[in-house]
Subunit: 140 residues, 3 copies
């Protein structure tokens, strides 16, 4: 086993759900040399998250944002309000979607399904650039 | 380290939460030869998901379905409606439960707790067969 | 690759979200000898969970508890009520937050962001001690 690790900086994006599959994968070229492994992606923040979902229709990503704003509204009995009305909802949303993804790799490619793409879930109004650690654990 | 990977096809099930522990584990016999490892299960779909929860009472699985339908209702301000009223809620539910599970393996067995079982969460009315990639990362 | 595994017992805590970063990490001293790896934490229960979130303000953890009680209320159309009114909501909350965390390790330290801490999410009123399996998968 030889594992590799890359620190990836994702460009700033507005609040919402964004497809970042290509931006992530082009920074882990060792996937193509991997017979069996796991690609682990980890976001080093508490107000943005990662998930996998439909990679075709932008409507799906739009509806994710609408739903999550209804489920975790800014108008709620929050006590942690010092960092803005979008901050505490962002923490909850980040926990719901999760800070990491792990995706199997086989025979040199990511074993995602046809319709699965990697989403960056930006839960702040102005989250800025986001840091992701990509770790590829593998049998050589 | 020698890792193994299996492509598992889960038989079609109706919408709801289903216990699939045995159906999955009998397809990864190498668990019994593993001293320390991680079993990673990954569903290659965006409208079904995997989670771990109570393996005893069917009432628990019934209540999961009731709650998730209330939390992510078909009647909502969805824009992505072309694939049926159960489709967009299925995408959100799949992200909430998540597309993967990773479970530690120690001394030849899965280190789940007494009450933990593997759930296939089928969020479509007619989702059909579901594909899961099982990757066992291990020290020999 | 040589992996290590530890069985950790977390002391009993009241219902709510608790920061346990130090209590967990001091039981995995091998992190400091790890060049590249993944720390996998797995809770062996179906009514408590693990997540990563803000490690500074206790208000954030308080607001997590308030929100999760509103999103998954004890007063709901539950059928599984034999084990108390806090039980079925605890199962749902546990699935939303998830039973495991995996965190990258690089150059001898956990690669969490500045503000990320490990939360034990105790969803029962009297959950008692909780068991966590820590598995460090690594290149030596």
């Amino acid at each position: 086993m030889d594992s590799v690790q890359h620190h990836i900086s994702l460009e700033p994006r507005p609040r919402g759900f964004h497809l970042v599959t290509n931006e992530v994968l082009e920074q882990v070229p060792e996937i193509s040399d991997t017979r069996i492994g796991l690609l682990h992606l980890f976001i080093q923040h508490t107000s943005a998250s990662l998930t996998l979902n439909e990679n075709a229709s932008p409507d799906v990503r739009h509806d994710f944002e609408t739903w999550v704003n209804a489920a975790v509204p800014e108008g709620f009995a929050w006590t942690h309000t010092l960092e803005g009305s979008d901050d505490m909802p962002a923490h909850i949303k980040a926990a719901l979607m999760g800070p990491s993804l792990s995706i199997p790799v086989g025979d040199g490619r990511l074993l995602t399904g046809t319709w699965q793409g990697i989403y960056l879930c930006e839960h702040r109004d102005n989250g800025g650039s986001r840091s992701v650690v990509a770790t590829l654990m593998r049998s050589a």
